[in-house]
Every structure is written in structure tokens, then in C-alpha cells.
Subunit: 160 residues, 4 copies
């Protein structure tokens, strides 16, 4: 199957580069199905593990949002599966923040095999809810606006 | 959030109507996150449970494919989340085969709350692999072609 | 393998009979391992689903405890596996409250195959934590004491 | 709650020392319940991840058994929970083979918090099934007997 090379979101002229983080792991026994490959619903966990490590390094963890009174639920989730992952196979999960201007966070994911080929690509979109009144944010919350300023100035460096 | 009313796949003129099945269940304790709502990755299980019951009634279960030497991996998975599901909430999952003509199966899903509003919509696309040589099918396997004939003749009635 | 017929907890002379509830379900695709049988860690979900339905009918649901300011964490969990469950197999999960006198809840579980044989047995023990100060209860909380009075009087009838 | 210090299995006089391996990880978002602590059924995954790494280093992986025609299903699983694990908390999982002489594998597990205190202890017992005829082994399979010889001679060194 051909590997998709375009990204999922429109490119915004002059937007800063994506900010990424990668984790490495293996396919566990409990994650494979009767055919010995990672079950399709398992990938949400793979994506979330990379996204969590990215968020921790960038000031956008669940706890960072919680402390600033914001919830950031996922409203859209998509995966394209190109190649299966076998039991015990080692792979890399890359999660990348893509620049956007609305009241949302766009993240793209790629799962990369040991030979460098893409096994899976996908994305999530998160919106924002006020933790006190459960109302959606129309404009971006302060925690995100501050980040975007730093990002635009080239100061959005996530800790390695 | 506005509920999406269009379907995910192009409508084919003259195509037979979708074939659907619904299951009812509740949100279990182990399925909710720290906010007390179903975790976003959990929905693959909800979808699969409805799809399994649909497949069992229509002759397209995992075992039906297995016996005919075909594997049908999911190659695309998408969810739109409109409203959360709370711990212990009762809901309906509807899975529907949509008519298509290529070597693939398109299924749409909807999760419906007790008040009839849509919580979630999504879809999966499956392709076909030969169980013996792991090669993809270019044309639809026999098990699917037989079904399509019956479907077109209005004889694709799934057992309730 | 021989089916264990004794129970896990000491019998207390004069104790009221166990109170039980049963659910029926099938083994889902995502629950089986590479050998096509339910993965051993999956059984906590099977047990919890039966225990949740039992609790709902008996006034001991998560929400009943929550409203009365009590948390009831599991402190002990045990399973004996006698026979595997196959993909798609129908089975019954029975959860039973066993009478006890300390500040704890003892539940026994059995998974029963279509032919009536036992696939799995197990138990959980729950203790009580005060929701305000996170301190363990030395004596049973009121919600449990009230139940035990009704249980002893033969009035602990759970709704079917 | 007091930490249990005895082991789960009888000590056999003259038995070689346990062989252990430890992994480090964090509690992921999808693993916590509505109280923000790791759900009790999640621990089977924690145990299995440590057991898998132990098995890989010692020649007792799923694949090692598979190649030698043996299945090693878990027939007994037990956990004692002493302290909860919080969202994002770092912890260590230690899995240890204990010497035994029957046709079985006994493994003990401990989950250790950052301050060195024990969060959880547990064990699994595995038996052996012939992959061809599904009959249980009465005596230990060759793959295990070979290991025990090396273990007794102090040559059962698992790769770090």
C-alpha cells in the first residue's frame, strides 16, 4: 500500500514549523489480535502515549490544562493504516503539534517501523471547554495563546 | 456542537439502502477517564461490538471471512465526537453497511443518546487480504460479491 | 482440569445466603489474544460488568457510594482459570455478595460456559475510604451497615 | 496499609535464587479511572510488560515457547493492592521467576513507587499445553527443564 505523504491539515502561509516528539516501544502480547497484529483500536493508546510525552515537555499536559481551568477534549480522531505491526515489533510513534489559529489543537501522528517505513498515520483535533461552566471556548484560552506567541518567536522549545 | 447529518461516503445513484443493526449498552466504570466520561479511544470497542453483531447476522463475521480464506483488515478509521458519554449512561450503537463497488467494505457508525441526539459518528473502511499469501485483493472476494448480488435483489436481509 | 467447588471465604455460621446477579455476553474480537482465546487480563472487565449490574440492583453502585461520601477500592483480586473462552463464545458471569462482618465487601465471581461447566472463578475484596480525608474506615460505613440489617432480616432483595 | 513482606510461594530448601527484571513506566491517561488512579484491572498489563521483558532476556518469551511447540497459559492470577498509583506517576514493575519443580512457572510481581514503598504485589502461575493436541503437560517441557539445569548451575543469567 502506498504511504501517504501529504499532511492532514491545510498549510498556513508563514506558519511556524511543527513541534514534535517521538517515543519508542514494542507491541505487547495483550495488544495483538488473533492474527498476531496490533488491534486497530489499540492505536489510540499508542498515539496518546506520544502525545502525553509531547505535552509534558511543552507545557500542554493534562495537568497544565487542569491547573488553568481548561479541559481539552478530543473532537476528531482519524487513522490510516498502511502496514500492520506484529507482536513484539519495535516501532516509533511521532506526535507533532501543527500550527493553527482557531480555538483548537491539531496533532498529527505517525507510526514508523524499524526500516523507516510508515505503518500508520493519523490526527486528533481538540477543542476547549471551561472547567467551571462546561461551555466551549470561542477564542483560544490563555494557556494556548501564550504558547503561540512563543512558538511564533521561535521560543517554543520543548524539553527533550 | 452541531450534529453532522451528512454521511461520510459518496452516494452512488441507484445503490441499495444501507443495512444496519443496533446494540444497546451502558458506559462501564473501566471505560471512563478522570473526568467521568468515556475515553476517546474506547469508542473503537463500541463500534466493533455493533459491527460484530451486524456481521454475525449478515454472513460477514470474522469466522465467515476466515472460512472463505479472506482477511478483512481495517485500513481507515474516523470518529467525530459531538457530546460525551457519562459513566453508566445508556446508549445505542448503530452500525450500517453502505453500498460500495470496490474491493472494500464501508461501515458507518452512530452513537445515540437516550434523548435521541447523536453523541458520536464515525466510519471504518476494510480491505481484503488473501489468507494464504497475504496479498491484497484487487477485485472483491467471492463472499462479498455473493452478498452484493443478494443486496441488489433486495435479498440481503440480516437476521434480527 | 477439575472445577473448584469450595468458595474462597470462610463460612460464618448463621450467615445469610449470598446475593447474586448474572449477566450474559460473548467474547469480542478485541478481547482475544493470538491464540484466539480471551486474554487473562480481560477477565477483570467481565467481573466488573457483572458486579456493576449487581451493585446497581442492590444499592451499592459506584454512585451510591459516592453520594454517601465513601470510596470502595479493590484491595485484593484473584482468578483461577479452568478452561479458556473462545472468540465469540457465549458465557454467563455470576457475581455474588458474600456475607462478612468486617469493614469490607467480599464478592465471588464465576464464569459459566454454555454447557454449564465453570471456565473461571475468582473474588475481589473491597475496603472503604472516607471521600473527604482519604482515611480508611475501621468500622463499616453506614451505607453497608444498613444493607446488612436488611440482609439479615431477609429484606436484601435486589431488583431484577 | 501494611506492606506484605512474605512471598506467595513456599520456599524450597536449596532452591536457586529468583531471577528478576524491572521496567520503569508512568501511569497513562487512559489507565486511570474517575478517581484519577490506575484502574484495578490495568495491573495485568503492567505485570505482563515486565514479564515479557523478563521472558525475552531469559529464553522464555511467547515466541520461545511457540517455536518449541508449547503454550503456557496463565491458570492463576492474584493481586494485593496496598497503595494507589496516580495519573502520570512514575513507578517500577519487578517480575521474578521463582524456582519450582512441577510442570509450571511461578512468577511474583511487585510495583514500587518512587519513594521505594510497595504499591502492589501479585503472582501468576502458568501451566503447559502441547500446541499440537492441546493436552496439558504432566512433566515439565524440555524448554523449561533445560533452563532449570542452567539455573541450578548458576548459569541462568538473563541478558540485561
Amino acid at each position: 500500500m502506498r504511504v501517504k505523504t501529504t499532511e492532514y491539515f491545510d498549510k498556513i502561509p508563514g506558519a511556524p514549523e511543527p513541534v514534535s516528539f517521538e517515543i519508542k516501544r514494542r507491541v505487547s502480547f495483550n495488544e495483538v489480535d488473533i492474527m498476531g497484529i496490533a488491534w486497530y483500536g489499540q492505536y489510540a493508546i499508542y498515539f496518546e502515549q506520544a502525545q502525553t510525552e509531547l505535552g509534558r515537555r511543552c507545557g500542554l499536559s493534562f495537568n497544565d490544562f487542569y491547573v488553568s481551568g481548561v479541559r481539552a477534549p478530543i473532537v476528531k480522531f482519524h487513522i490510516d493504516y498502511y502496514q500492520p505491526l506484529q507482536l513484539d515489533e519495535e516501532f516509533t510513534v511521532k506526535a507533532s503539534y501543527l500550527w493553527s489559529e482557531g480555538a483548537k489543537i491539531n496533532i498529527e501522528y505517525a507510526i514508523i517501523k524499524g526500516d523507516g517505513s510508515i505503518a500508520t498515520r493519523g490526527y486528533t483535533v481538540q477543542m476547549f471547554i471551561d472547567g467551571k461552566n462546561n461551555q466551549p471556548y470561542i477564542v483560544s484560552p490563555e494557556i494556548l495563546e501564550n504558547l503561540r506567541k512563543r512558538w511564533k518567536n521561535g521560543e517554543f522549545k520543548c524539553l527533550k
